[in-house]
């Protein structure tokens, strides 16, 4: 009996002269500052294994990142720990050499267009798929899923062929259009749980108050869906800026986005451009992406994109 009491109310431990085992447990708990019955931090080798794995991953990650950054500032870095001389000149050189003003302009134009178009197309569709039942819904849902499930090359090559046949090849239009193919389904997939968590009777209430379908959308649904739309938009933005395969298939010198430009620089004939030029460009790319993502993470919690359950009960 006493054991039970102590186990459930650890503060009562020292005062109650319980069994030997209970007292031991209570003192151990008091020393480590935890309630008895909780998992012990020291005892689990699996915990150490996980932390070690994560550490290795992070070392690799930081190693990759810093070596590119160091390389982009280094003049002649071969068989030493660090380059002998540091210089910022590679940035100016690569900016000029690859016409980055234009490339970044293209990248932003493409990204923003894709985000706007895919939200405009995807959100209403996501709404209907989440809320309504109609003939052919299953087929349509499956079709919307396919562009995400298929390798980009699989639909990218036929699509690029069509683009070239239509004379759209190597234009910025082609780049925007091909990037829409995975983006619209992606918006639909991201938005569906957000829409489902809004109670349908809120929309009914708006209609009973005399709001037309359009007013329901603009006055009630849009404000409630802003977090979801923001999340979807940011993810599409990141995906589009980082999308290599599809863009590469249809872009030309005038419509290359930053990733494709870097790839071309790395693989251009004659063993590629000077490594530091590429590194400088890669650093600029990463900086752009990082700014987008840091801003994004301030708005959305990435671990709650799929399902949202209050974890307040945990503490």
């Amino acid at each position: 009996m006493a054991t039970d009491v102590i186990a459930t109310t650890p503060t009562a431990g020292p005062q109650t002269p319980g069994s030997e085992r209970a007292r031991k447990r209570a003192t151990r708990a008091a020393r480590s500052g935890r309630a008895p019955g909780e998992k012990a931090l020291v005892a689990a080798p699996s915990t150490w294994f996980v932390w070690a794995g994560m550490a290795a991953f992070l070392i690799f990650l930081l190693g990759i990142l810093t070596s590119v950054i160091v390389d982009s500032f280094g003049k002649s870095w071969f068989s030493t720990w660090l380059p002998e001389v540091f210089t910022p000149q590679w940035y100016a050189k690569s900016w000029e050499r690859f016409d980055l003003t234009h490339v970044i302009g293209v990248t932003l134009t493409v990204a923003v267009s894709v985000v706007v178009l895919s939200v405009l197309i995807g959100v209403p569709a996501a709404y209907l798929l989440a809320r309504r039942d109609f003939p052919g819904k299953k087929l349509l849902s499956l079709l919307f899923l396919l562009p995400i499930l298929m390798p980009p090359i699989t639909f990218g090559i036929p699509l690029a062929t069509v683009m070239y046949n239509l004379g759209l090849g190597r234009t910025i239009w082609a780049v925007i259009l091909v990037n829409l193919v995975p983006s619209v389904p992606f918006v639909i997939m991201t938005m569906t749980p957000f829409i489902e968590q809004i109670n349908p009777s809120i929309e009914n209430a708006a209609r009973m108050c005399g709001a037309s379908m359009r007013q329901v959308f603009t006055r009630v649904l849009a404000p409630l869906l802003i977090p979801g739309i923001l999340a979807a938009a940011i993810l599409v933005l990141v995906r589009t800026v980082g999308m290599f395969e599809l863009t590469f298939l249809v872009s030309g010198p005038q419509s290359d986005t930053l990733v494709v430009a870097i790839y071309r620089a790395m693989t251009s004939a004659g063993g590629g451009e000077a490594r530091q030029l590429v590194s400088a460009m890669a650093v600029m790319y990463t900086m752009t992406m990082m700014i987008i993502l840091v801003v994004a993470l301030r708005f959305v919690n990435p671990t709650q994109l799929v399902a949202r359950v209050k974890d307040s009960r945990e503490d």
Partner: protein, 378 residues
């Protein structure tokens, strides 16, 4: 200006039906609602009462029939053009708008001038006594307050008809009683025509001028609270109206409306609520209040006695709800003025006019009622 109901003579539902891919959720609802009336639609969950409400609101298209107001069809209008107000079960307040803006929403949709809008919103908020909370968001209000906002939002538009979808079911017991009074007060002071959906018979009886009982999408009975309370049209309605004792018996003799039924170890004199014949198996319905324990010195009513053993005793304020069991294993619910002991042998009595005899089958569809029989016995 005061909030009033915009009037009409009558609202007529004619043969209204709705089916979902072959399944009939609502069949042949005929009802005429007069202005100022409080109609309650009563039925267990899944009986089609929400379907009926949504059809009336225009949130669900009809698959049958017409709805018209003073001879003018409204079922072809989208819900936002019908001029009805609605109060939802889960309140359905706009979570991003303050109390004030929630109430103002409908007026904004109508393009009401600013000054008038302000005055009407203030009036509606005052009506539900929420003046202190106008700037709060719905999330900061209690359930009862949220429900008041929902009511204010519906009545501020001076709707021709207010639809209420189980508005009290999410509230706790005490609040529910308060809000019930509040709704009745609003209805009477504003002269609102109200169509109220609920599964709670007590709520329906206390609020409504007329009740509609629905079962599996079909109307079972329409009538005033007193009619339904005293003369349910079949055992299903009786069950819903609080006739907790439903006993399957056989008719021994019929003379006019007086019937003698027997089975389950006893026989009783009852009143035929539906036409029954000798030898027919029937269902006897008695309210627990009408079935009483015979105390020493009490007289037995109409020669009706049942002996049984006390199994469960619940204290219910003024009296005790007692569960007893007959020798044949039939469980009965009765009332007693003082608490009997578990295991006591008691004698029960009921007056013949309060022992209603119904046919076992529910009208045209006798099929598929077996699972319900099981449920009622248990």
């Amino acid at each position: 200006m005061a909030i009033t109901a915009s009037a009409f003579e009558s609202l007529e539902l004619k043969d209204v039906g709705r089916s979902f891919g072959g399944h009939d959720a609502l069949v042949g609802l005929n009802l005429t609602i007069r202005a100022g009336e409080f109609i309650a639609l009563l039925g267990p969950s899944g009986c089609g009462k929400s379907t009926a409400l949504n059809c009336l609101a225009g949130l669900l298209p009809l698959t049958h029939g017409t709805i018209s107001i003073d001879g003018k069809r409204v079922d072809t209008l989208p819900s936002e053009k019908r001029g009805f107000g609605m109060v939802f079960q889960n309140y359905a307040l706009f979570p991003h708008l303050s109390v004030e803006k929630n109430v103002a929403f409908g007026l904004q949709m109508q393009g009401t001038p600013k000054a008038e809008l302000k005055a009407r919103v203030a009036e509606a908020v005052a009506l539900v006594k929420l003046e202190q909370h106008t700037k709060k968001l719905p999330g900061q209000l209690s359930g009862g307050q949220q429900q008041r906002v929902a009511i204010a939002r519906a009545v501020v538009l001076q709707p021709r008809l207010v639809l209420m979808d189980e508005p009290l079911s999410n509230l706790d017991a005490k609040l529910r009683l308060d809000m019930r009074t509040e709704i009745r007060r609003l209805h009477q002071s504003l002269g609102l025509t109200t169509f109220y959906v609920t599964h709670d018979q007590e709520e329906a009886l206390s609020l409504a001028d007329r009740l509609v009982v629905l079962r599996e999408g079909r109307v079972q009975q329409i009538g005033t609270p007193a009619e339904l309370h005293n003369k349910p049209s079949n055992w299903h309605v009786a069950d819903f109206m609080g006739y907790r004792n439903l006993i399957d018996l056989t008719v021994e003799a019929v003379s006019g409306e007086d019937v003698r039924v027997s089975g389950a170890g006893f026989s009783l004199n009852g009143h035929a609520a539906q036409q029954v014949h000798k030898g027919e198996s029937v269902r006897l319905a008695i309210r627990p209040e009408d079935l009483t324990v015979v105390e020493p010195g009490d007289s037995v009513r109409d020669g009706n006695t049942i002996s049984a053993t006390v199994a469960v005793v619940e204290y219910q304020g003024r009296e005790f709800a007692v569960g007893v069991q007959t020798a044949e294993g039939q469980t009965l619910h009765v009332r007693s003025a003082h608490a009997p002991q578990i295991g006591d042998r008691v004698t029960l009595t009921v007056s013949a006019s309060r022992a209603l005899v119904y046919r076992s089958s529910l009208d045209e569809d006798s099929a598929g009622s077996t699972p319900e029989l099981e449920e009622v016995r248990a």
